[in-house]
C-alpha cells in the first residue's frame, strides 16, 4: 500500500519558486491499479520522481506500508528505493547488456550472489514471457519486448509497489494492450500496488481501477474508473471517453449526444428507445466498450422527434443522458462529418 500525504514539491526559492505539486493526497491499496493522468506540464513526471524517491518532496510524505520513506537520510533512501519498482518510458535498457543482464542490474547493485541472480532472472524472464530472448541485446528487441525487460527489472527485488511512468507511451496500440495485460496479470499474481502515470486516456480505460486527474500540480478529480465513466457530470469521466466524429442527421431529425450514465444500460437500448418513441433512431457515431464488466461510452443519434422532453425522459429510463442538437457538455469534440443523403446508411466511426 502506498499513500501520499500532503505531498508538495517546489522548485526554487522565494518569489521565483514554482510549486509543481501542491498538497497531493491519495492512497492506493495492495492489488489496486491507480492511474494518474493529466496534460503535459501538470506535474506527472515530478510526481513519478517523488514516488520512486529520486526526488525528495519539499513537504509532505510518501508512505509505503506504514513507513514514511521520503524523510529518510540519503543512505537509507537508496535502500528504500528498492521497495518501489519503476517501469520507465521506453524501458531505458543498458545497450551493452543482454536482456538477462539488464534484469540482473538491481540484483547486482544489492550484492546478490551470481547463482541467486541467475535463478531470479530466469524466473522473471519467464514471468514476462521473454524466455527465448534472454540473451538478446536491446537493439534486437521490439518496443514491447524491451518494455517487458523493463518490467522484469522493476520486479527484480520483489517490490510491493510498482510505479509505471509513461510505461506504454510510444508503443503501438496492440503492444500497449499486451503490456497492459501483463501488468494486470502481475498485479493479481503478486498482489502489487500499481501507480500508473500516463497521458493516454485509452490506456487508463484498459488498466485502471481508480483514476486521478492532475492539473497544474493539483488533483482536480479522482474516483473509481467505472463511476467516472458512468457519471455524465464528471469532467474526468468525459475526458476519459474517446470523442468520435459523427454523420449529420436526416432532415427533420434532431441530433442527440447520449452518454451511458449508469451501470445497467441494457444492450438493446437503441431498439427500445426507438420502440418507446415510435420513431426510427439513427446511429450517427458511437464509442462503446465494456469496462470492468459494465457498458460505458457515448453515442450520437439522429431522432425524428420534436418532443425533446419526451426523448430525454425515455433515454433516462435506460440509464442514459442525452442532450439535443449534438451539443456536448464539455467543450470541443468531434465535428459532424460530411452530410449523408437521406436514406443512405450513416457512416459510422467506432464500433457500437
Amino acid at each position: 500500500m502506498i499513500s501520499l500525504l500532503e505531498l508538495t514539491k517546489t522548485y526554487g526559492r522565494g518569489a521565483d519558486s514554482v510549486t509543481v505539486l501542491d498538497r497531493l493526497n491519495f492512497e492506493v491499496g495492495a492489488g489496486e491499479i491507480f492511474a494518474v493522468t493529466g496534460p503535459s506540464g501538470a506535474g506527472k513526471s515530478t510526481l513519478a520522481q517523488c514516488i520512486n524517491l529520486l526526488e525528495r518532496p519539499t513537504s509532505g510524505s510518501v508512505v509505503v506500508n506504514g513507513e514514511d520513506l521520503s524523510s529518510l537520510p540519503e543512505k537509507r533512501l537508496r535502500a528504500a528505493r528498492r521497495r518501489i519498482g519503476t517501469v520507465f518510458q521506453s524501458a531505458s535498457l543498458l545497450s551493452r547488456r543482454t536482456a538477462s543482464e539488464n534484469i540482473a542490474l538491481p540484483l547486482e547493485y544489492l550484492g546478490v550472489t551470481p547463482g541467486e541472480i541467475q535463478a531470479r532472472v530466469g524466473e522473471l524472464i519467464d514471468r514476462v514471457g521473454l524466455g527465448p530472448k534472454a540473451h538478446s541485446y536491446p537493439f534486437q528487441l521490439s518496443g514491447g519486448q524491451a518494455q517487458r525487460v523493463g518490467i522484469a527489472r522493476a520486479l527484480a527485488l520483489r517490490p510491493s509497489i510498482l510505479l509505471a511512468d509513461e510505461a506504454t507511451s510510444g508503443l503501438d496500440p496492440d503492444t500497449t494492450s499486451s503490456v497492459v495485460e501483463l501488468l494486470k496479470q502481475l498485479r493479481t499474481d503478486l498482489d502489487l500496488t500499481v501507480v500508473f502515470i500516463t497521458h493516454e486516456m485509452d490506456t487508463v480505460r484498459q488498466i485502471a481501477d481508480s483514476v486521478a486527474r492532475l492539473e497544474r500540480g493539483r488533483i482536480v478529480e479522482t474516483g473509481a474508473l467505472v463511476d467516472l465513466l458512468t457519471d455524465h457530470g464528471s469532467p474526468l469521466g468525459r475526458a476519459l471517453q474517446p470523442r468520435r466524429g459523427f454523420a449529420a442527421a436526416d432532415d427533420g431529425a434532431t441530433t442527440w449526444y447520449v452518454t451511458y450514465d449508469s451501470a445497467d444500460v441494457p444492450g438493446d437500448w437503441i431498439q427500445r428507445v426507438s420502440a418507446d418513441l415510435a420513431v426510427p433512431v439513427h446511429l450517427l457515431g458511437a464509442s462503446v466498450e465494456t469496462v470492468h464488466g459494465i457498458n460505458t461510452g457515448s453515442a450520437t443519434l439522429g431522432i425524428a422527434s420534436e418532443d425533446e422532453g419526451l426523448v430525454g425522459h425515455v433515454l433516462t429510463r435506460y440509464g442514459l443522458i442525452g442532450t439535443p442538437d449534438g451539443r456536448r457538455e464539455s467543450g470541443a469534440g468531434g465535428a459532424p462529418i460530411s452530410p449523408v443523403r437521406s436514406g443512405a446508411v450513416p457512416a459510422l466511426e467506432g464500433a457500437a
Binding site: R78, T86, S92, L94, S95, R96, P106, Q140, R153, L157
Partner: protein, 244 residues
C-alpha cells in the same frame, strides 16, 4: 646521394661532408628509436588512463545535473583543464621545465618528456571521458538510481559501462595525439622516432631517414586507428553482431 652541407658550430662556419644513412643501417637507427616512442607513449597512456578516467567521471558528475553536483569544484576543475588544453604542446612543454626537472631531476630524455606529455594527455582525456559520459542518456542514470545503485555503482555500470565505445573511440584519438606529442618532445631530446626525424631528417637533411620515419609514423597511426575501430566495434553489441 651525397652533398656538402653548411653547418654552423662553435668553431665558426665549417664544411661538413654529409651522407644519408645507408638503407641497410636504418633498422639499427630506427628500431631502438621506435622502441623508445612506444615506451614513451605507453607510459603516458598508463598515467593518462589512471588519472584522466576518474577525473573525467568526476568532472561530469560534479556538473549541474550530475550525480553529486559541486558547481564550484566543476568550475575550478574545468578551468584548469581548459588552460592545459589551450596551450600548444610545445609551449606547455617549455613552460613547465622547472616542474619537470623537479619531478624527474632532468629536462631531457624520455623521463622528462613523459611529464609534459602526461599533463597534456590528462587534460585531453578528461574531456574525452566527460564528453563520452555526457552522451549517455539521463534516463539510464535514472534507471540505475531507481534500481538502488550507489553513486559508485551507477558511475561504473551505467555511465561508464554505456560510454565504453565512446571512451575507446576517444582513446584511439588520444593515442595518435600522444604519438604526435612524442615527436614534438623529440625536439627537446626526448628520444624516440620524433627525435630521429628532427636530428637526422630535419637538421641533417637526411631525406632517407625522414622518409623512413614518415612511413613508420603513418603505418603506426593507421594501425592504431584500425585497432581502435575494431575495439569499438567489439564492445558495441549492435556493430559486433550485425557484422555477421
Amino acid at each position: 646521394m651525397s652533398a656538402v652541407n653548411v653547418s654552423s658550430g662553435v668553431g665558426g662556419l665549417i664544411y661538413v661532408p654529409r651522407a644519408d644513412v645507408p638503407v641497410a643501417e636504418l633498422p639499427a637507427l630506427l628500431l631502438p628509436a621506435y622502441g623508445e616512442t612506444v615506451l614513451m607513449v605507453g607510459i603516458v597512456m598508463a598515467v593518462v588512463l589512471v588519472i584522466g578516467t576518474p577525473l573525467g567521471v568526476l568532472l561530469h558528475n560534479a556538473a549541474p545535473g550530475g550525480l553529486f553536483e559541486r558547481p564550484a569544484l566543476h568550475a575550478v576543475l574545468g578551468w584548469i583543464i581548459s588552460v592545459g588544453r589551450s596551450l600548444p604542446f610545445l609551449i606547455l612543454m617549455a613552460s613547465i621545465v622547472p616542474f619537470t626537472r623537479f619531478i624527474t631531476g632532468t629536462n631531457i630524455g624520455i623521463a622528462a618528456a613523459v611529464v609534459p606529455m602526461s599533463l597534456a594527455g590528462i587534460a585531453f582525456f578528461t574531456r574525452i571521458v566527460e564528453n563520452a559520459l555526457r552522451s549517455v542518456p539521463p534516463s539510464i542514470v535514472r534507471v540505475a538510481r531507481a534500481s538502488g545503485g550507489s553513486n559508485l555503482q551507477i558511475m561504473r555500470s551505467a555511465q561508464f559501462g554505456e560510454a565504453v565505445p565512446a571512451v575507446l573511440g576517444g582513446l584511439t584519438i588520444q593515442v595518435i595525439a600522444m604519438i604526435e606529442y612524442s615527436a614534438i618532445a623529440g625536439t627537446i631530446g626526448a628520444g624516440g622516432i620524433g627525435y630521429v626525424a628532427v636530428t637526422y631528417g630535419y637538421q641533417r637533411f637526411d631525406n632517407t631517414v625522414m622518409l623512413a620515419t614518415i612511413l613508420i609514423l603513418v603505418a603506426t597511426v593507421a594501425f592504431v586507428q584500425v585497432a581502435g575501430d575494431r575495439l569499438v566495434r567489439w564492445v558495441t553489441p549492435q556493430k559486433r553482431l550485425q557484422r555477421a
